[in-house]
Amino acid sequence: MKSIVAQELVKSYRDGEVKALDGLNLDVEEGTVLGLLGPNGAGKTTTVRVLATLLTPDSGSATVAGIDVLKHPDEVRKVIGLSGQYAALDETLTGWDNLNMFGRLYHLNSSAAKKRAEELLEKFSLTEAAKRPIRTYSGGMRRRLDLAASLIVKPKVLFLDEPTTGLDPRGRMEMWEVIDELVKGGVTLLLTTQYLEEADHLADSIAVIDTGKVIARGTADELKNQVGGERLEITVEVNQIPEATKLVEQVTGTKPSVDNGIRKISAPVSNGSASLIQVLRLLDDANIHPLDIGLKRPSLDDVFISLTGHVAEVVVEGGANVAKRK
């Protein structure tokens, strides 16, 4: 059964000047995780806002847990959890206050709300910080509490809008563990992210979204295959590039691409390991000793670039920005 279905969603701003959603179609099988992957401004947040009943689309339709989002938003709100890009909590109150308040707003009675608050604090390792105001929390703690607030009544469908954006690597790892745990519990999850590795790690299937449309859909492996199979990559000394290139072409049968800057020669191969051995032998005969050699499967980065035609903003562990080559 499909837990989330979106059909031909259109939403534009400023009298149609900006199209946030441009005929978006989407469906998520019950109990699975869909990663909605796209750059800033692709329409990820708008999609989540429409599905979570916060925003009315100009046209199109959507159902969540079988309920029509536009016709019965109140019913939808009873079965969803939403955790946004910015931790939406009352900063002045304590973690405990917040969970207790949201529990009451989910119409738990006083003692049930208290009990649930304590359970969730425990589950998200926030018991020690429970009585402290949120403004003293670290980014990671806030996100965990924000997530906890969306799980008060076990939702059938959970939306996480960029759950790790802005977190340091440790906070991100912690968040991933928490989400992994949730997924094992069998919730249907729609997760937006601009981190390719996050989608790869957390999602069962991925929808790549750009300029308000889904432009590719599949598992991480399927998407990678779509871009092409394995590539042989070797790095040699600058003066050896021409000769090595010739040898690689001889083995693979296609003209390799050469990046002189990083002295890397790369070409698609069909029979990976055999070609690798062959190339190594030829290089050895030619007395060329590669600095690096290997087979590489395309990463989701490659998928992303080949699909959207532009570079994803990627922050690697440690926080340095890495420009991805086109």
Partner: protein, 264 residues
């Protein structure tokens, strides 16, 4: 129905909790009008010949009270704009609660803060010589009137807060409008000294009618108003009630509608 009431009470309780968690906010909200009392009482008070029994402070205190509750609009606007900015309104809107709970809870919460502020202001007034002479019932009625006025002003704040969506903008906008409104009135000085056109404005200004109503309820002759013999200055209590009903009748539905449709 019962559910809706419990929803808005949770939101109101949140504000009371905020008051306890960060008492500074309430303290500063009270210090400012207290400073006004002292400034007006001792800086201008000597220069203004009031001609009423008990001196200028009898005229001043109702003015200060009304100014204070008029600023409920600011508290509401700034509070809601901050909630908008942080995405808290989004979360509330994703919950299965009644569509008016958040804004009603907010206005009621801000009114409850006024209770505390007014008690402190009343005590400060008493310390500097304010002595209402109308008896306990009318004095309490006067304060009830003030709370009601604050509550209705708060609904304008809801609309502003949800519209500007940014704490600072809300702050500036509100101060730019509410301050002139409280001074273009009979709150601190007689309206007779103003140019004719401003006099008319001041006579009809809800702040003026409120101040006049409070002076009446606290037992002080309103010699700062009633210059143009206009209807509002002759019937301040009724006029103020009309204003309050109008404010709520106009701004409450618009604000709830705004809340339902608001989107970043």
């Amino acid at each position: 129905m019962l559910q809706s009431v419990s929803d808005f009470l949770v939101i109101t309780k949140r504000q009371l909790l905020q008051m306890i968690r960060i008492p500074e906010v309430l303290i500063f909200a009270t210090i400012q009008p207290a400073m006004f009392v002292l400034l007006f009482r001792y800086v201008f008070g000597g220069a203004i010949d009031s001609g009423v029994k008990g001196g200028y402070v009898q005229l001043l205190m109702p003015g200060i009270f009304v100014q204070t509750v008029a600023f409920t609009l600011a508290a509401t606007a700034v509070g809601l704009a901050a909630d908008m900015q942080k995405g808290l309104i989004d979360r509330f809107r994703s919950l299965p609660i009644s569509r008016s709970a958040v804004v009603i809870g907010r206005t009621v919460g801000d009114t409850l803060q006024n209770v505390v502020t007014l008690i402190v202001m009343g005590l400060v007034g008493f310390l500097v010589g304010w002595r209402p002479s109308s008896g306990i019932v009318k004095v309490l009625l006067g304060f009830l009137f003030l709370l009601a006025f604050g509550y209705s002003m708060s609904w304008i704040g809801v609309l502003i807060g949800l519209s500007v969506r940014e704490e600072r903008v809300a702050q500036n906008l509100v101060f730019m409008t509410v301050f002139p409104l409280t001074f273009l009135s009979n709150a601190f000085a007689p309206t007779t000294g103003m140019p004719k056109i401003l006099q008319y404005f001041a006579e009809w200004n809800p702040v003026s009618t409120m101040v006049a109503a409070c002076r009446q309820l606290f037992g002080t002759q309103n010699i700062f108003g009633a210059t143009a013999n206009s209807w509002p200055s002759e019937n301040p209590i009724l006029m103020s009630l009309i204003y309050m009903v109008l404010l709520v009748a106009i701004f409450a539905p618009i604000s709830v509608r705004k809340y339902v449709r608001v989107s970043k």
